[in-house]
Symmetry: C5
Amino acid sequence: MIVRDRPSGLRLFFVLKGSILSRIWIVLLVNIVLAILVTIFHGDLFSIKITLTAIPFTLLGLPLAIFLGFRNNAAYDRYWEARKLWGQLLADARTMARQCAHLIQAPNPPATPSGSNDDPTDRPKRMILKTIAFAHALKHQLRGTQADTDLDGLLSASERTRFADHPTPTVFLLDELGADLGQCIREKRIDPCLAANIDTTLSGMVSVAAGCERIKNTPIPFSYTLLLHRTAYLYCFLLPFGLVDSIGFMTPFVVAVVAYTFFGLDALGDEIEEPFGLKDNDLPLDALSRTIEYNLRTAQGERNLPAPPLPEHYCLM
Amino acid sequence: MIVRDRPSGLRLFFVLKGSILSRIWIVLLVNIVLAILVTIFHGDLFSIKITLTAIPFTLLGLPLAIFLGFRNNAAYDRYWEARKLWGQLLADARTMARQCAHLIQAPNPPATPSGSNDDPTDRPKRMILKTIAFAHALKHQLRGTQADTDLDGLLSASERTRFADHPTPTVFLLDELGADLGQCIREKRIDPCLAANIDTTLSGMVSVAAGCERIKNTPIPFSYTLLLHRTAYLYCFLLPFGLVDSIGFMTPFVVAVVAYTFFGLDALGDEIEEPFGLKDNDLPLDALSRTIEYNLRTAQGERNLPAPPLPEHYCLM
Amino acid sequence: MIVRDRPSGLRLFFVLKGSILSRIWIVLLVNIVLAILVTIFHGDLFSIKITLTAIPFTLLGLPLAIFLGFRNNAAYDRYWEARKLWGQLLADARTMARQCAHLIQAPNPPATPSGSNDDPTDRPKRMILKTIAFAHALKHQLRGTQADTDLDGLLSASERTRFADHPTPTVFLLDELGADLGQCIREKRIDPCLAANIDTTLSGMVSVAAGCERIKNTPIPFSYTLLLHRTAYLYCFLLPFGLVDSIGFMTPFVVAVVAYTFFGLDALGDEIEEPFGLKDNDLPLDALSRTIEYNLRTAQGERNLPAPPLPEHYCLM
Amino acid sequence: MIVRDRPSGLRLFFVLKGSILSRIWIVLLVNIVLAILVTIFHGDLFSIKITLTAIPFTLLGLPLAIFLGFRNNAAYDRYWEARKLWGQLLADARTMARQCAHLIQAPNPPATPSGSNDDPTDRPKRMILKTIAFAHALKHQLRGTQADTDLDGLLSASERTRFADHPTPTVFLLDELGADLGQCIREKRIDPCLAANIDTTLSGMVSVAAGCERIKNTPIPFSYTLLLHRTAYLYCFLLPFGLVDSIGFMTPFVVAVVAYTFFGLDALGDEIEEPFGLKDNDLPLDALSRTIEYNLRTAQGERNLPAPPLPEHYCLM
Amino acid sequence: MIVRDRPSGLRLFFVLKGSILSRIWIVLLVNIVLAILVTIFHGDLFSIKITLTAIPFTLLGLPLAIFLGFRNNAAYDRYWEARKLWGQLLADARTMARQCAHLIQAPNPPATPSGSNDDPTDRPKRMILKTIAFAHALKHQLRGTQADTDLDGLLSASERTRFADHPTPTVFLLDELGADLGQCIREKRIDPCLAANIDTTLSGMVSVAAGCERIKNTPIPFSYTLLLHRTAYLYCFLLPFGLVDSIGFMTPFVVAVVAYTFFGLDALGDEIEEPFGLKDNDLPLDALSRTIEYNLRTAQGERNLPAPPLPEHYCLM
């Protein structure tokens, strides 16, 4: 995610980081060169005058506006829904931590601290650590990366082995949390009515994961994208022929501006349509999952933790 | 669902799989041939000059834009809501599996493993299998197909018979799950407060089924579709007469581009408006229900399962 | 609701059932006759040349597009929300049936089957029948019709008398269901935590009824409708004067097409804005309430029921 | 709220009640007079020809369309959300009545009817009356009026005194309902699980009140309204200069039509943006709160109540 | 937030407070000066005639309309969602106060009033004060200011110290409220089913905080803003060249009007996109949090409190 203030005045035109220009400069250049050639040859192609005026572009503007507007809104909706899901995950994780810490009673009789991983006294704390692990695991699942050092100190050795073996680690972690909760109920450390609330929180985390998988796995129908790309390309590459008779030597300049906005809007849609990647405008999943870790660890009294990451070169990952 | 990367450059124009062209080429061809004839005869029809200019098309563009934009958004909303419902089903199924596995206690006194289908020890496991069967049954109900081998190993023989006899199998399965839950409550294997949460999960699955039936059974009002088709056809078939005087021999080309976008948008809307079918852009219900099966079986410790299906020829069913 | 496949090719132009033409042919005819007269007299009215060009219509197109687009979306949103509410009612009814059948225990000690209407053993079944009655009663309330034979076999004689006496029968039925639930709680046949879930289902049915009443009783503000009608009528009736100078004898044809889309869109909005009526494009409340009856009766083991109604002349009521 | 059928044919143009004309006729008249003057002087102002054509109005149409469309949608969304909140209040009130009547048990041992206001036997009934009072109090809070005779018979004398003293009476009533519920719990007349459902209903009523206050206290940002008004006024008052050269003596007529739609849309937005007032198009809060009273009183067996109010002069308040 | 009535007539054009003019007058002035120069030199730049007509601006209007409309809607949606979240916070706080006051029983045996901060009798009251503190803390977190005197009388000395030490004070307060609730459960002062409802209210407050953080930390993707600014600036600065040939000396005036609307819309979007600041059109967080304090204190019987703040110079902070 690009994090920078809006530049003002002329500097507006010389910002590169955060501009979509780096992704579209080739096709833009080709288009401008074509416009220059058309201007030089007065719209003739192989000695045949291409009799286009502005009218076809007004007509073509109609479906193009529908496509671009639709695609733009759909892509942003996906981006924003993905961000909402992660905001919900932050809320669910905080709720989970609050519920585990205060609603689950100490074991009765007090367990002798065995130091083992199954020490019931520590179960609420281990559940909170697994909640943090869930956020990291979801991030890695969505980005297709490996959860390595992120999980240090969050899972026990045996949990880590099973985590690595499981085909969908996020499902594994929620199942473990469900097992912990069931164990607390059987040990009578929590009233079933309150356990039902924790169970609801877990279901909320399942919904977040399912929602993110939906956005990742179901793109905007490919035929839309194809139809939009084709129309936009045809529009921009034919445009010089339609303009040269009325605005003469200004044709390449106007074509450049129009093509910049159309190709830019198109490329931007490509980028935020899949908001879980590592491109400039994608969501800062790493910062988000680290914020969850930071929040849940401080809530347990830990201090001197590394703060959540800050943007580098105006970019937060 | 078409799953492929966006082609770049010139290849963009030669992609066939995923293009809507295969559905509209006849009407498009007729339109282009008409445009060629109009261009040759300079807009005369039976020796009478058709005095159309671009103005009527600008005026007609207004209602057409409203129709196309509306229909496009409505169709995509249906598609995306259907996908959301299946995402919710995935979440509900995972939640159901977690709840059955960890909130329902073992019978007390332990049941002697009788091997029969009513062995109470296995009831949570059988509930999870019925949840999988529900996903498959919903898929088949929405597609109008028969659930044959999909149900192997999920239902007992007697359940399978009653399943086949029931007019709405999805209702049957949820009713069975409700009966299982009631039985667990009567056997005191689950606290009512927690049973209430499982009951809520079942209600969520009922809502998903009702939502999918709503989308399947209630199309966009037919009069809209008819009004839109008629306007789009009239617009495209009259267009050559309006353009020939100003852009001459480029008329067929421009008509082809405009008609391609209008007919393409229209056909695409037809396709995703009913997202449960078996066309290219429809939802991959088979992959979704198999993912549910895969998730729920692995959560119970099964491994070496067939992975959920992958796209064939860029197409996921 | 019109249920028919999209006609293809030329047949598209000759479909009458489902077309909005039957509702607007008078005003359309008047408009076309005016356009013919204007064409014959070259735009003179009482020997005064009406100096209109296409420009005023481009300017007027702006507010008209805002009005038509807004009204169109608002009307469809009302239609679709109404359908969603009935989908929710279907889900709530199925949930209610499942909960009554499996969460309410048999009376203890078993009641001697007295055959009377207050036989506690039958109470869950009677609650399910009242749920069916609620769906029928809501349909009749929304359509302003009388629930006669629909209620046969659903309510006891005394209930039916009180039903007929009550000013809002849907409120009466939900109150009766609440009383039944309270009775089951007092008889200790259901745990309060589970009863709370049934109570929530009842609240969902209350919300559905309140939502449907909202749509029925609160139309789109009348001033919008008036402003839109006036603008659309002025636009279409002035249009011939603006076109005749540039497109000559094609004027009546173009006016006919434009007026058909504008009046059609307007009339269609009128129809689906109030989706509970008995017009062609209204919601099939009868089919929906019968589906609920069919579902709930089959879930109780009844078979050989009359199937939910099918479309007649492409129309489902 | 205007309640009348859509007039047809010519009568459409002579409807006054429900038309926005009464609010905009002054500015409209000024505009038309200006257009007549411009037409007479051929667009000269103090002997200087104002060289405007239609082009600036096409360009200005773009931001104006964005403003008007945005403002129109935002205002209607506020109106419709306000109506939804009151629909939710109707549902919550019915739910509250059902829950109080059937989930709260008679006191044990039976209280001797003391006739005092604290007679525990009557508490459910008094809670229902307070729910009715809440609906009336919310109406008066939103309209800035005094709840006088509306509360007769709903509150006891001491409650009425405290109601009058409280700075926010709606908060007072919900607090009283919460106290009644707490008292029932302490008297063991309701199981806590069921009391939790009533508490949830109360929270729903709190949300309705907070939602209505939000709409009342937070208008659409003033700068939007200002920017829109200025642009619309400039557009309409400059329009005669741009049209007079091309359409001559028809200028005042076209200006009148365009200005009527723009000013009308603007004034209509002003009206429904604040939907709780007493203007023609505002929400019929009085009818809604009386419907709630009628519903809740009939549900308790009262008959021969005054029916909810009907529209007077096509207007429901 | 600007709170003032809409001015009427000519005064509309002389309102400054609430107008966006103060933020854009520099760039507007530069644009107008350029337009005057272009008009004087008849569109020549360094003796070269810039051959622009209105056509490029019609074409450029298409992407610009998509950008401006999208950005405008997205910014307002953020503003309105932020307001909804604070409305939800108001509702949650009132609910919390009602639940703490009436669902938590007095301690049994009655605690001897020790006067200490841990006096269990006062715990519900202290929980309500912490809820008020949460609203103030959230306001300060979102505005980046320090919660100084706002917290006087709300937190005990030791709580205040820990509050100041905690990296995210809002998380701290909800954790404290969770601990208080857990303590009440352990002391058997509240039934777990009812405690579950209070826990749900706390989760609602967590969601509000997470939603506000989402809006604050995730702006509209920077590339959109950049693309929009560039297109709008190019459009307005090139516009004089396109108009001068057709409308002559009116060019600077028309350019001023068009640029005012485009730059104004752009600047307004900048302002409400981040609704938690201290600019004129931002949300009145201070008034909102003080309303919460006022509501919760009066509900506990306090009177003679300072009323929530009123607008100063038409502006509510």
